[in-house]
């Protein structure tokens, strides 16, 4: 069962790498979205530094969400989802494997890109390490919660807009504590509670989200 889990994870990562689009276009979107803010609010260093952590997190949220609609859609359209549902791997674990692959191909590149963008946004030096740590702990929750939305909308034509309507409100806690962690460390306070809460959110989502997503997929396969 563990072998099947990693095989599915490996296949999805390989598909994402071969098609090349998912990871790179997510990062490009992330960079582009962040770039728009100095153009929108003006280049003053103080202003940018003030909003940097918020902008980075909001852009990361949107970037993670954009690639979600293909999470199950491709497998649904070509019949692979039927076979996955009939395979020896419980659908909940298949969902977890696919979500993990989604995180590895979109969340991970975002984490790597975030400190570079933080430089562009004049983020206070004290916040860098926390930003990366908070992203690392928070982005899994984004992929997992997003997986529920992707599973619910898998059979719907043009489900992308609906997906964002379903998922974005659920992203709010991750946003709040992600930004909170960075701001706390910039203010010289401890960022520990926020990081722990982010970890808790990701862990809880890892347990609960696959249940909901698998239930939604089963329903869409009926």
């Amino acid at each position: 069962m563990l072998a099947a889990f990693f095989r599915l994870f490996g296949r999805d990562v390989r598909l994402a790498l071969r098609q090349g689009s998912a990871g790179t276009s997510t990062v490009v979107f992330f960079v582009l979205a962040v770039t728009l803010f100095p153009l929108g609010v003006g280049p003053e260093t103080a202003v940018l530094a003030r909003i940097a952590s918020g902008v980075l997190w909001v852009a990361a949220l949107l970037a993670a969400m954009l690639s979600l609609d293909r999470l199950f859609q491709a497998d649904y359209e070509d019949g692979s989802l039927d076979l996955l549902a009939l395979g020896p791997l419980p659908l909940e674990l298949a969902v977890l494997a696919k979500t993990a692959a989604h995180w590895a191909t979109t969340g991970l590149p975002l984490i790597i890109a975030s400190p570079i963008l933080a430089v562009l946004m004049q983020l206070d030096g004290a916040g860098y390490l926390t930003l990366v740590a908070a992203m690392a702990l928070g982005t899994p929750a984004l992929s997992l919660i997003g997986g529920i939305g992707a599973a619910l909308t898998v059979g719907i034509r043009r489900g992308g807009v609906l997906l964002s309507l379903l998922v974005l409100p659920l992203y709010i806690p991750v946003l709040i504590f992600g930004v909170g962690a960075v701001e706390a460390s910039i203010d010289g306070l401890t960022q520990r509670p926020q990081l722990l809460i982010l970890a808790a959110l990701s862990l809880a989502a890892a347990v609960l989200a696959p249940l909901a997503a698998a239930a939604a997929l089963r329903l869409n396969l009926e």
């Binding site: 489900g159 409100p169 504590f177 939604a216 329903l219 869409n220």
Partner: protein, 253 residues
């Protein structure tokens, strides 16, 4: 036919609910009427807020209802997923626009109240923000219902979403409260102290009761309407495909 029980239920519901409906409607009118009278004319003005405090008699019950209706929706969704009770689906579906309506009233009345008291239409107060997010959750739920062609499937998907939302609401509420204590501007004053005078409490409770009865009455109407709509759908289906038998159709003998 093994599936007969599925439409025996709605038929009984229509009978019972039609008998109850006039009473619930009367109670709603009575409670809201007397609540408005006490609230608008015979309750004291707030020493600080003057007459604007009377917005409370609409705002607070709506905010309560917005949460109450979502809890009801989540409960109905759980019942529908576990026991596959068709009425639970209908109740959840019929509740959503009502809940969204209450939430909208709470938001708009909050803004109208905020203007004279806080000097601005909108503040990112923890409660207002939470209610705003709740409004988005309602909109997502309604949109998901609309997105499916097949009502059975839509019901299940929406039920899953309602439960996911129910799990998340406390987390969202907690995070928004936490966020708010960090960013709270000092000027915002918190409403009403720990105690509320009995002359204000009575109209408030009357209004809350009235809103609940109103909700029940409209819920009954909406469920009945949905049952009729499904019957029509089933009959249309029979016309196009003679071999098909409606599941939600003619009442059982």
């Amino acid at each position: 036919m093994t599936t007969m029980h599925r439409f025996a239920n709605p038929a009984r519901f229509v009978r019972v609910s039609s008998a109850v409906l006039p009473w619930v409607t009367a109670l709603a009118v009575l409670c809201i009427g007397s609540g408005l009278y006490f609230g608008l004319f015979s309750s004291p003005v707030d020493y600080q807020q003057r007459d604007t405090v009377r917005i409370m008699y609409v705002h607070v019950p709506s905010a309560w209802m917005s949460m109450f209706v979502y809890s009801g929706m989540a409960l109905a969704s759980a019942i529908s997923l576990v026991w596959k009770h068709p009425l639970a689906d209908l109740a959840a579906k019929a509740s959503a626009p009502l809940g969204a309506g209450f939430t909208l009233v709470a938001l708009v009345s909050g803004a109208l109240w905020g203007q004279p008291t806080w000097g601005t239409w909108w503040v990112w107060d923890a409660r207002l923000t939470s209610v705003l997010i709740l409004f988005f959750l309602y909109l997502g739920y309604i949109a998901l219902w609309e997105a499916f062609d097949d009502p059975q499937r839509a019901a299940k998907a929406a039920a899953i979403l309602a439960l996911v939302g129910a799990v998340n609401i406390p987390i969202i509420k907690f995070s928004v409260d936490w966020w708010n204590t960090l960013h709270q501007p000092a000027s915002v004053m918190t409403l009403s102290g720990p105690s509320i005078h009995i002359s204000m409490l009575i109209p408030l409770l009357l209004m809350a009761l009235g809103f609940t009865f109103y909700y029940v009455a409209v819920l009954i109407l909406r469920i009945q309407r949905e049952i009729v709509a499904r019957k029509i759908r089933a009959l249309r289906l029979m016309q196009t495909e003679p071999a098909a038998t409606p599941v939600f159709g003619v009442p059982a003998q």
